[in-house]
Subunit: 161 residues, 4 copies
């Protein structure tokens, strides 16, 4: 049972290009993070709210497969979904897809999800793993530290299946 | 038969930190690339020479495992070695290790290699895969496009075992 | 006779923060550039079109005055207007203002302009100067290299007064 | 009576280039900051020591004049000197100069200063103004908050004239 993709649109910035005239590869890791942030914002939980509770969600593992490069001024969709979730850990899957303006859908900040394949041309796909930690960088169960946030994330995950 | 690590020293920049007070995770991908560049520079082949021949070496796959975060002003060693090499493809392994000034060895631009474990505290490790392409972004065998550069890389790889 | 401000909305990225828990100061230069790009896009001239004609518009001078820092996840308006324009040179003024979601207006890619003061709280203001150059980085008059683009920019500038 | 330039060497990173095949202009602001940091480190005061005392030194004003672009893999000298200093404020002047390996002098972390013009080709020059603030971002006199650090900075400034 597939989980729906959350989609967030970005325009490629000049600074993100390099002298190969493509997006410098490390920027996709940044875009994945933006995709995750917008995903949970649309669950009603700005990531800022976790940090206000003293919780951080560092990346413990990152995998990226580069198919085709994104170019300056491209419109890209950052597609995100939760692959796994426990009280202590979360894993996400991510895709970056190039879209035409007419495929790109609504505004950047509008939530859009799709149950099937997202539109556009697949450029990059990857995955990240994370662990909830407290300010001392020690693992910390989200369901104990912030039960209402945990619940909201959990129900987002369930409803998106 | 292990391949020697090439080591290049960096100091963590303020801009590389984020509000978690650690290095933003995408920067390690940039550091890995700097490590690869210095590795082949020390083989007598500045990466610029490949681009002058119309050859690019984009990343096709990136894996990073984050053990501990690097902090502002830390001295870190970027450790790099070739994991695999063919006329069309190269794969590297990378580590980022925190060192004290006395462990950090010589100047940033001096080549240093070690057959055993590099010094310092392991923070992050990872791997990248690459393919040689021409300006049209088509795969292009290095031994045909630039035989002398290929030979130098090959002998660096062999001699480091 | 004041020139209208063009406004473009951004959300502050995690990567743009530093360990002072504010936006790292160099990022405002990047935001100014994004503001300029969106300004001329809304004149019907994507900056990409200039580069396709072999024209570049490097920055020759940058001034930034920092009043208050932008914070992670803030919505900011990048406000841009042309201060001066000749066939060879352009000068822009820029502001970064923090807005609440309800002040932020339409979607990121919608053009909005205002004749008076833009909404929100002034964080940073500045100015840039530019010169049109060709691929050899030599000054090149825009009205000769791309008359129709020059005309469109010129009429944008005039109509905005 | 001119103040000596402090010089710190950098190599241009691939990520710092853009598709104009030059260094993206905002990076010079980052390099200026690295130059300032190394300048005061060589006065025996790592910037980290100020932050440990709860003091920050944000930029209040930045001016950059771009003469020629730095290119990928260039060796550049970041030249820094204190232009003005009071218990509450500091102003720096900065230059970025391209050097050949033989002009570049010692290792990146070695302090070098010059009373005359620094070597190499001038690419970019600029200036920054700063104010000492506490954790609440309120102006805070350095001589009261950290008299010994203030004294060391002051004597560095005096001795360099």
């Amino acid at each position: 049972m597939a989980v729906n993709w959350h989609m967030h649109r970005l325009r490629v910035r000049y600074q993100e290009t390099d002298q190969m005239s493509v997006v410098y590869h490390a920027n996709y890791a940044n875009w994945f993070e933006i995709g995750r942030t917008e995903y949970i914002r649309d669950a009603g939980v700005p990531y800022r709210a976790f940090e206000d509770k003293g919780l951080l969600l560092p990346v413990t593992e990152l995998v990226i497969k580069f198919e085709k490069p994104a170019l300056y001024d491209d419109l890209v969709l950052i597609c995100t979904r939760v692959a796994e979730m426990s009280p202590l850990r979360v894993a996400f899957e991510s895709q970056v897809r190039r879209v035409l303006p007419e495929e790109a859908g609504g505004a950047e900040t509008e939530a859009t999800t799709t149950a099937g394949d997202p539109p556009g041309e697949l450029l990059v796909r990857g995955a990240t793993k994370h662990v909830w930690v407290n300010r001392d960088w020690k693992p910390h169960r989200l369901d104990r530290a912030a039960p209402e946030l945990y619940e909201r994330l959990q129900s987002l995950y369930n409803s998106s299946k």
